[in-house]
């Protein structure tokens, strides 16, 4: 009897220790607060968090010239692209608030067609402070990240203003410049971005740090980079490995929310302090250079926030 009691006591004791061990093992993986409620962090896009790839020094810029040579080079080069720091950002908010849609080249829409696109950059540095110093692979704790913005979307090459202006969101934490008429090579397949995808995404990640503008620029889009079909940006559809949801189907301004979990997760794992998304139109094949692209498009995108849910 004594032996049985002894065994039973040991069993209870061992079970208790086992439960305590397992609990503490799981608990140590769980961040503070309720373990069942993911925490949220978001950054509202503002001038402190958004860089315009094409900073405009004044808000009273003239409309684009009606006559423009197709050979007119863009006025900004890569250094200037990244030199567009916050102090240089000009508030173009008028009808729909902050916009990124601007260019130093206000005389010719070719600048927008050619290489450079507006970029909005979320400052993730505050997010990292949520975790203890030295915590690695923070991105793996992100369960969901969504980017939300307002835009006027176009499903074809026509719109009331006579030019295409379907936006797309580019890569994250990376250079997201897509050349018009670029061809994406995926395995054995070549996909002309502007004729097949009509909207595209290029992820170009620097192979090594520092992950700043100049280094990132070295990772310009290369063939084989991932491309996302945003052809259906006018409606819900697949967005790379995430999802795209048009919360407000319009007419007029659409509230677009896209799932960017994969990208944000990757960017944070790389400890990228800044995280960039490009927004641009790519249905420019039929644009005539006399169309005032910039002037009209620039008011049509209003980034709202990047929201991150993490454990």
């Amino acid at each position: 009897m004594k032996s049985r009691l002894h065994s039973a006591t040991r069993l209870v004791l061992a079970s208790g220790v086992l439960v305590a061990g397992l609990y503490s093992l799981l608990a140590s993986n769980t961040t503070g607060g309720s373990p069942t409620t993911p925490q949220q962090w978001w950054t509202g896009f503002s001038h402190s968090t958004v860089w315009g790839a094409f900073a405009v020094p004044n808000t009273s810029a003239p409309p684009p010239a009606q006559n423009c040579s197709s050979n007119t080079p863009p006025r900004v080069d890569p250094p200037a692209f990244w030199a567009a720091q916050a102090p240089n950002i000009t508030d173009h908010s008028d009808a729909v608030g902050t916009t990124l849609w601007s260019s130093t080249d206000l005389t010719c829409p070719r600048a927008m067609e050619q290489v450079y696109r507006s970029v909005l950059v979320a400052d993730l540095s505050d997010f990292y402070t949520k975790f203890p110093s030295g915590t690695s692979q923070v991105g793996n704790r992100i369960s969901k990240a969504t980017l939300q913005f307002n835009t006027i979307v176009m499903t074809s090459n026509s719109n009331p203003l006579g030019f295409p202006c379907d936006p797309f969101i580019g890569a994250v934490g990376k250079v997201n410049v897509l050349q018009r008429n670029d061809v994406i090579q995926t395995g054995a397949n070549s996909t002309p971005v502007d004729t097949t995808l009509r909207a595209g995404l290029v992820q170009a990640s620097p192979s090594a740090g520092p992950f700043d503008g100049p280094t990132t620029l070295t990772a310009f889009p290369t063939r084989g980079d991932e491309a996302a079909d945003l052809t259906l940006i006018g409606a819900a559809g697949n967005f790379a490995n995430g999802s795209l949801v048009i919360a407000d189907t319009g007419p007029g301004i659409h509230n677009v929310k896209i799932d960017v979990t994969k990208w944000v997760r990757g960017a944070t794992n790389l400890n990228l302090p800044l995280l960039g998304f490009s927004i641009a139109g790519i249905n420019e094949a039929t644009i005539t250079v006399t169309t005032p692209v910039q002037f009209a498009c620039r008011n049509w995108i209003e980034p709202i926030e990047l929201r991150v849910e993490f454990l």
Binding site: R10, L26, T30, G134
Partner: protein, 158 residues
């Protein structure tokens, strides 16, 4: 007879092992409280601001936790040296499995195969951590030391 030889931990060893285990738990708790405040749901108290510690110590909690619970479990379970060794090994396996559960590829696989699993508290807890080879090494070292602690004993003749 040799086959009836039993190994029992010395009383002193038993007590010192227990003391070491509790000390490890206390140190682990203090580590989280001062170096990683606000990050753990089980902390009853933590420092207002994190104290910077060397990156070499990042895996200390894995070591301390494995070490402490391997000892506690084997002492609670009792038995001969072989059994205590097996208990330490089993706990080591649990800790290693938990560490591998933090592999991003596994989390992605689970997300795809069983999206609802991430909605469960236990699922997120298992997969939310950060896989680290250093943690894995710390677990193995902790288990090895714990095994040494609980398996040192005198040979008893019945």
């Amino acid at each position: 007879m040799e086959s009836e030889t039993r190994f029992e931990p010395r009383e002193g060893n038993w007590r010192s092992s227990l003391s070491l285990a509790f000390a490890a738990l206390v140190v682990g708790y203090v580590f989280y409280a001062v170096a990683r405040p606000g990050t753990q749901s089980f902390l009853l108290w933590h420092a207002p601001v994190a104290i910077q510690v060397s990156e070499w110590l990042d895996s200390a909690p894995s070591f301390l936790h494995t070490f402490a619970f391997a000892i506690l479990l084997s002492l609670a379970g009792g038995g001969d040296r072989r059994r205590r060794f097996a208990t330490c090994l089993a706990w080591c396996a649990v800790e290693v499995a938990a560490e591998f559960g933090q592999l991003p590829s596994l989390a992605r696989w689970v997300e795809i195969q069983a999206p609802n699993a991430m909605g469960l508290s236990i699922g997120r807890s298992l997969l939310a951590g950060t896989f680290s080879v250093a943690d894995l090494a710390a677990v193995l070292i902790g288990a090895a030391l714990a095994t040494c602690c609980v398996c040192i004993g005198r040979r008893n003749k019945p």
